[in-house]
Symmetry: C2
Subunit: 240 residues, 2 copies
């Protein structure tokens, strides 16, 4: 009894940024598993010395449990939380049991955390949000219109793919909700804040996103505001 | 008895390219676990219709077991092989038992499969190898000297990091060999073929690589030759 109590009250600290999709991914998983973490906001472009010591790649998020070694990156954190929380959750576990089904969940988690990020989210967030806050020596300056254009074109293809997945399956990776859904939704929540998502073109994707948006783990995002950038009008509406 | 025999003789097929670092990563893990896979060479830039049906991201490698659904990407394949082979291997398992140690193995595996790839290996292989074989409509043409220069500059930083890891630990992710070592070595074996690695600057990295190079799982690479591109003189030497 003592043991499990200790596990429940473990100290978790998440280095994150509110507009980092992978950080939101980690927060959604923590939320789904009923864990609270202390949130430390990082501006990775500043390459703070103490942050680089945690993660020399200078990427977000980074999770620390009980002052242990850093757990680095959205996908690595997802695996860690599955191994330390998910396996005790039965119906609420965000991973399948069978290796071949786990492979599909991982493929799509990687797709959204890495591919969607590097083709779409990174550019739109950098050009439209981070640059407002960046000094010139950190890469600040006017937004790069051609990067924004390319990212928007790429987003159309990603939305088609999400729409296709949402149409052909109950959840993106199969019959049950999984971390792949949270990986996709975390990126879309950032893009939606910025008004970049054309929901009306992809009805199945919209239905799927509405189901996720109404989960309690999602609620904190809907209340967050970035200074100087108000969200799109429907951002916090569950029925949009 | 029947069951385990069937598991041992499972049909594995790997879609790969000999100069794809992530493909070599999958082949090294298969080799370490004593598995043979049928190798199907893919030229991902051709976007072959049957290959896109396996992996719409058009990336390598893709593993198929017993005509099952595709297992996509080096990291996903590594997890799959750990769950279906590694857990039965005890001392030869390429993953640690403890979640926090697994997180470090995964951090570094991701580092080499994604970060080293996207900052170094992808450019050098594309410009120096794939372009010789690419039609203009697939992106062929003369090598881009500035991409090569940038990749070479980035490689110096990665070599310093590998040298530092090799100096401070027995193996890159800790006291035991793990998939993180194979992830790094697979990329370096590709770069070494092309003569891009300056081993003399990083003695600890060289010692570490020599240990890996002499493992039986590595042997097939040392015999492979790319048409039109002979390897650097020391490529196949165990004592270089």
């Amino acid at each position: 009894m003592r043991r499990s109590r200790k596990a429940i009250s473990a100290m978790l600290r998440l280095h994150h940024h509110p507009m980092s999709a992978a950080s939101r991914f980690a927060r959604l998983i923590l939320g789904e598993y009923g864990e609270r973490a202390e949130l430390v906001e990082e501006k990775p472009w500043e390459r703070r010395r103490e942050f680089l010591a945690l993660n020399p790649a200078a990427t977000l998020p980074v999770l620390i449990e009980d002052d242990g070694p850093p757990i680095v990156g959205g996908l690595v954190i997802a695996e860690y939380l599955d191994e330390t929380r998910g396996i005790y959750q039965r119906d609420r576990r965000l991973m399948a049991e069978k290796p071949i089904e786990r492979a599909e969940i991982r493929r799509l988690s990687e797709w959204f955390v890495n591919k969607l990020e590097s083709e779409v989210t990174r550019y739109l967030v950098r050009e439209r949000v981070f640059k407002l806050d960046m000094k010139v020596e950190h890469g600040g300056g006017p937004p790069d219109a051609s990067a924004i254009r390319a990212a928007r074109a790429n987003l159309k293809n990603h939305m088609r793919y999400i729409g296709w997945l949402a149409e052909s399956r109950d959840w993106l990776a199969g019959p049950r909700i999984s971390q792949a859904d949270l990986a996709a939704a975390s990126a879309l929540s950032v893009l939606d804040y910025l008004g970049e998502v054309d929901w009306d073109r992809e009805g199945a994707a919209k239905d799927w996103y509405q189901r996720l948006k109404s989960r309690p783990s999602f609620r904190p995002f809907l209340a967050e505001r970035i200074r100087g950038i108000p969200p799109v009008a429907h951002y916090a509406e569950l029925d949009f």
